[in-house]
Amino acid sequence: MKKSLIWALAAIMLLSVALAGCNSNSDGGDGDKSKEQTLIFGRGGDSVGLDPATVTDGESFKVIKNVYDTLVEYGEQDTNVNPALAEEWDVAEDGLTYTFTLREGVKFHNGEDFNAEAVVKNFERWMTSGDSGKFAYYASMFGGFKGDEGHVIKSVEAKDDYTVEFKLNRPQAPFLKNLAMTPFSIAAPGEFDKIETEPVGTGPFKFVDWKRNDRITLEKNEEYWKEGLPKLDKVIFRAIPDNSNRLNALKTGEIHLMDGVNPSDVAEIDENADLKTFFRPSMNVGYLGFNTQMEPFNDKKVRQALNHAVDKEALIKAFYEGQAEPAKNPMPPVIDGYNDDVEAYPFDLEKAKQLLAEAGYPDGFKTELWAMPVPRPYMPDGKKAAEAIAANFAKIGVDAEIVSYEWGTYLEKAQKGEAPMFLLGWTGDNGDADNFLYTLLDKDTIDSNNYSRFANDELHEILVKAQSTPDKEKRAELYKEAQVILHEEAPWVPLVHSKPALAGLKTVEGFQPHPTGSDKLTNVSLK
């Protein structure tokens, strides 16, 4: 009896050892293929789709950026424009004609040639669709679609095999920066129907397979146009929703890199001899928005009062572990046109009470404060931040009940204007002021990204003028002016600009997080 039990136990142990072995092999870890370099990137969620032009979420772009290239690309850790698929370009003096000379000899992963025809076909697909729900980024960056009044691009033409000419309806200052955005990646024209799930680009990695809600596997593009790159043989993007589970996976070596590190875990990672932290250069803003069309937030004085009632330093100390700086403008300081002369509303409850009284609410009022349910790069814990903010609001008589919904519902309802006060944030896509001020606060973008439904004609005039002002200095002046208006009108309480933390094994080399939130892993290798 006893003997058989021991045998059974032994058998179970043998089996589990054998199975564990299988597991590590299939992950492409050490095993016999030790020369093959596989990097596993752990992240909070799965991609929505892999067609660059039809998605809007960061988790999709993280993968897309490694499969595709854009005509021009950003620098390693900045948003300056560098050559990519286009080797050089020429801008006509009136700013209405851009001529790109394309790189020769580049092939898509399916063997198709990359040439002027391919570029034209991609742009035709976006600009003639007329579907602003599907091609949301195209519509919001280039003023709608072909035939629309504000549409920026008049025509895209192939002059010869490797020359493309863009003619614009009106000058657009950030045109090149926009072209470098991941949504405008060039896909293989023969595969448009399939790229949603099986992407085909020219990028450093080829798509292998996608297990929904689990992993996306990419392999090295041997014919990549950058000589000797990429260094990795394989990249796997794994979705591990919980921040602490993901960190545990990193500690056990199950993954090599992760984003979404809890600020409170940074100290622990720094102490760990096998791990290191990376900080994404800050290009975001976390904010508390007021619905400026709803009582009592349609009164400027109320909005200003609440601006005085938020203790940003306390928030940063308590919930960002100091890895953030207080915000005073709706855009981060790294962006051209940031107005440093704007004086932040000081944390002053007396002043706040006084302003409330002037607005006719000496005893405060009852309202809701919406808090996002998921950790975001610009705000690690929305509910906690809301609780801290609400405690100070309570001191001036503003009784704010904290409300939260599932993430998709939250965004949808807030977009429709159902939230009186809400927490949210934005990570810049192209490093341009337009991508913050116009996208988030212009009256044109109500019902899309202007969740505070703020409409101001003076501001609108300035922002539209800035869009078509090519002169850098003059543009910056216009944006500075816009920030003064926004400070006075106070449609938000700008809270913080955070430095999102990432973590990786010490063996990961050459990883430089990009401020836009998605990273090309071309130069990354494992020691």
Binding site: S264, D311, E313, A314, L315, K317, A318, A386, A391, I402
Partner: protein, 303 residues
């Protein structure tokens, strides 16, 4: 005439009121002999005391955050100043645990009271009238008992929307079949008793028989079951709170406190230990007391 029929031995009205007290005195005697039950009673009284006098006992309010630059006390370990330490908002955990007893005890008590009222009514009706009424009500109970209770509670809260009041309603609903079945079976046996036959024979109305004779005779098991179910209800409140379906921040509900403290389990275990201990102790208290009451009140257990 009705007055006479109400008791088996017609006596003076005044004494009538005192006479039924004697079985309760017996029960108290036997309860007193049960040391564990007394411990339970002690624990429960202690928490009731905390709940009633919370504002006097607690050193701070429930939401006195200390995270501003001039007053910073985030996640401080237990010390002479903060006996139970502070949480991630710099709030005194001791004060929050004390105020938390108010929530757990009220929700536990009223949820159970609610289930007693609904459950007993349904149980009496089912047991006394029998036939198709009984079938419908009993099957309804069967259906409700077929769900795991916490799952049913989650479903109810999901429909009503998460809040403390709705958590209370959900807990009350899921416990209805417990009392319903208990009372129904009690009614079935009592209604065969001779004094009920006598009451019927003298032409007493159904309602009077039900609420003046049958119901009072079912009190003992209801009280026993009720005490034990308060313990369950407290755990269920905490579970719903833990899942984010109960009390909303910054209400110091114990389960919600546990959920908030999860991420600090290694750095600041006191944020988790004390609310957890509070839940454990109250539940233990009610269970011990309930067991003691069962021994004291249930005639079958008496030797």
């Amino acid at each position: 005439m009705a007055e006479l029929a109400r008791n088996e031995n017609p006596i003076e009205p005044k004494q009538q009121e005192e006479k039924p007290a004697s079985p309760w005195r017996d029960a108290w005697k036997s309860f007193r002999k049960n040391k564990l039950a007394l411990v339970g009673l002690g624990i429960v009284s202690f928490f009731v005391f905390l709940a009633v006098f919370a504002p006097l006992i607690a050193p701070e309010g429930i939401n006195d955050q200390k995270i501003s630059s001039d007053n910073y006390a985030k996640l401080e370990a237990p010390s002479s100043e903060y006996w139970f330490g502070t949480d991630d908002f710099g709030r005194d955990v001791l004060s929050r645990v004390i105020y938390g007893s108010r929530i757990s005890l009220t929700v536990g008590f009223f949820a159970v009271l609610g289930s007693i009222i609904i459950g007993s009514t349904l149980g009496i009706v089912a047991g006394y009238y029998g036939r198709w009424v009984d079938t419908i009500i009993s099957r309804l109970f069967d259906i409700m008992l077929a769900f795991p209770s916490i799952l049913l509670a989650i479903a109810i809260v999901a429909v009503l929307g998460p809040s403390l009041r709705n958590a209370l309603i959900a807990i009350a609903i899921i416990n209805v079949p417990n009392f319903g079945r208990l009372v129904r079976s009690k009614v079935l046996s009592i209604k065969e008793e001779e004094y009920i036959m006598a009451a019927k024979a003298v032409g007493m109305k159904d309602r009077r028989i039900l609420f003046h004779h049958i119901l009072p005779n079912s009190f003992a098991p209801i009280i026993v079951q009720g005490t034990l179910l308060i313990a369950t209800a407290i755990i269920e409140t905490a579970a719903l709170g833990f899942l984010g379906l109960g009390a909303k921040a910054p209400t110091p509900e114990w389960g919600t406190m546990l959920a908030d403290a999860r991420q600090f389990i290694t750095d600041a275990p006191w944020t988790m230990i004390f609310p957890g201990l509070a839940i454990m102790l109250t539940v233990l208290g009610f269970n011990l007391m309930g067991d003691g009451l069962r021994d004291a009140l249930d005639p079958k257990m008496k030797s």
